[in-house]
């Protein structure tokens, strides 16, 4: 097992229009888009939403295979949704398989569910593919900051994400080292039943956890020594700034939202 191959997030570095957008713009766009995906009732509405997503994919200049890779984990989920919809929706039967029938209505519902799921995952992947985790964290913090008086721990969440980003590679390295040390003493992580392999991981997890707690303790001390006293009164070196590209994106988003809502309200999409 090569733990070094594990990457954090799936950021695809680049300099496309989408890459250059402010993370806040992209976060809000994804939020809007995921609502818009569930609005249409008829074909023109779906066409609009799908076209918008595809144009965004084209603008990101991320190879399509990276975007499709994001769909892999939801394949089983999608298959189940499609099958359930196809077989369990009452209506005019098209095929009969034993006691079960695929209905015309079911087929339509399956297609709708599949399209929605794919669009949802693709738009979310676009966000993480075109935004570095660090910028994403900054964007989230800034967007949540107005909610802080309501008890949303914006700064704390962002700090936790930053520390996670910082320490994941360190902990992966450590896990790798511990596993090699155990293998050198005859541990076997590769063969045997699933249960046995899971059991074999216990001697890896225990020292890893102990070390992680020690790290956390030392990090807290180091942060205190550098004057950390919570989020209040803190400033940031890197300020997020909207540019012309963001303003254009907002305009397009507003038009898009109006169009989707309009189609729905007038009963045409």
């Amino acid at each position: 097992m090569n733990l070094q191959a594990v990457t954090i997030g799936q950021y695809f570095p680049g300099d496309s229009y989408l890459h250059r957008l402010d993370p806040r713009t992209k976060l809000i766009a994804v939020l809007l888009l995921s609502v818009a995906i569930f609005l249409p009732r008829y074909f023109p509405g779906y066409l609009l939403v799908a076209l918008f997503t595809m144009i965004a994919v084209a603008l990101s200049r991320v190879p399509v295979k990276f975007i499709l890779r994001g769909l892999k984990p939801i394949m089983i989920f999608m298959a189940i949704t499609v099958l359930f919809n196809a077989f369990l929706t009452p209506g005019e039967p098209l095929f009969q398989i034993g006691r079960w029938a695929i209905t015309r209505e079911g087929l339509v519902l399956s297609a709708v569910a599949a399209v929605r799921l794919v669009l949802l995952v693709v738009s979310a992947s676009l966000l993480t593919l075109t935004t570095s985790p660090i910028l994403l964290t900054d964007g989230l913090e800034r967007l949540l900051r107005p909610l802080a008086p309501l008890g949303v721990p914006a700064h704390e969440l962002a700090l936790m994400m930053t520390i996670a980003l910082r320490f994941i590679p360190t902990l992966v390295e450590e896990a790798d080292r511990i596993m090699r040390a155990q293998e050198a003493r005859g541990a076997d992580f590769r063969s045997g039943s699933l249960i046995n392999r899971a059991k074999g991981l216990i001697p890896v997890m225990v020292p890893l956890f102990v070390a992680a707690f020690r790290r956390a303790d030392e990090l807290a001390t180091a942060m205190e020594a550098r004057g950390y006293r919570g989020g209040t009164g803190r400033t940031k070196m890197k300020q997020l700034a909207f540019s012309g590209a963001d303003y254009r994106a907002w305009a397009i988003l507003v038009l898009f939202t109006v169009a989707v809502v309009g189609l729905r309200v007038t009963g045409r999409g």
Binding site: P133, I134, T162, I163, L165, R166, P169, T170, E173, R214, R215, E218, L219, T221, A222, M223, E224, A225, R226, G227, Y228, R229, G233, R234, T235, K236, M237, K238, Q239
Partner: protein, 286 residues
């Protein structure tokens, strides 16, 4: 006493233990006195458990004395309202380079301190640039810390402390987890800061070679200051050092043995270079 930047007066400290019967409390620090003058390079030597790290943590109010006082730039560390002012003045670097870097990008980590102080972004940017330049890491400012070598990580940690513009830098065994080349890197940077910026340095270590370059050496054992003085004086008390389970520098030990064999070497030999010169002089004299 007035001229010292940090003044430790009669400080005692004990870590809280589950077993609190008063008689059995072992003092981690036992009536310690220490004065650090502005711009001075002080090395604190001692074995594990000698109290040297505990002492270090008293210098910027990470620990507060049980008895006695610690004054930093005239401020008592026990006064809570001065806590942050004290931490701005005394920067601290710890042993494990991995466990003191907060951010996933070098420059953002260096910015962590001034961000905590609530400085305006422009000023933070400038402080970060200066701090990274001072440790020679400017070219790596956009790197991810986990891709750096141990010595480089430790230099980033030093930059993180420098960004607060402290008057004194306390380093708690900063080289203990580094390879020899990393050790050299870190020592060079800190000595340069001391010389060029007049930064006071408290360097805690158990490496003799590192302590030998200090202005003043303090040897700790059992929570007490046992020896204090210029390196030359301290290191020539070889028997004493051995009693505190510290290594004697190789040159001192060699000179000692030669003297025992009847070679008339002068006292006060500290480095290999000096030993060679002394031996050469003896040879040309005969």
């Amino acid at each position: 006493m007035d001229e010292s930047y940090i003044a430790v007066n009669q400080v005692s400290f004990a870590y809280p233990t589950a077993d609190t019967t008063a008689e059995q409390i072992r003092l981690a620090l036992n009536h310690v006195n220490l004065a650090v003058r502005p711009g001075e390079f002080v090395a604190v030597l001692g074995m594990n458990g000698s109290g040297k790290s505990t002492l270090a943590r008293h210098l910027n109010a990470l620990l507060l004395p049980r008895d006695g006082t610690v004054l930093v730039d005239g401020m008592d560390t026990r006064e809570e309202k001065q806590l942050w002012a004290i931490r701005d003045r005394v920067g601290m670097v710890f042993q494990n380079p991995d466990n003191q870097i907060v951010a996933a990008v070098v420059e953002e980590d260096v910015a962590f301190g001034p961000e905590n102080q609530g400085r305006p972004p422009e000023e933070i940017r400038q402080r970060v640039a200066e701090a990274l330049a001072a440790v020679g890491m400017s070219h790596m400012r956009e790197r991810a810390p986990h891709l750096l070598s141990g010595g480089q990580k430790q230099r980033v940690a030093i930059a993180g402390a420098l960004a607060l513009r402290p008057a004194c830098l306390v380093l708690d065994e900063p080289t203990a987890m580094l390879d020899p080349s990393g050790r050299g890197e870190v020592a060079d940077v800190v000595h340069r800061l001391n010389r060029e910026l007049g930064m006071a340095v408290v360097w805690i270590t158990h490496f003799m070679e590192e302590a030998a370059l200090a202005d003043r050496v303090i040897v700790m054992a059992d929570g007490q200051v046992q020896l204090e003085g210029p390196p030359r004086t301290v290191f020539n008390q070889a028997d004493q050092l051995r009693a505190f389970r510290l290594d004697v520098p190789p040159a001192v030990s060699a000179a000692e043995r030669l003297r025992a064999e009847g070679v008339p070497l002068p006292e006060g030999i500290l480095t290999l270079q000096e030993l060679v010169e002394a031996l050469c002089q003896l040879r040309s004299a005969t």
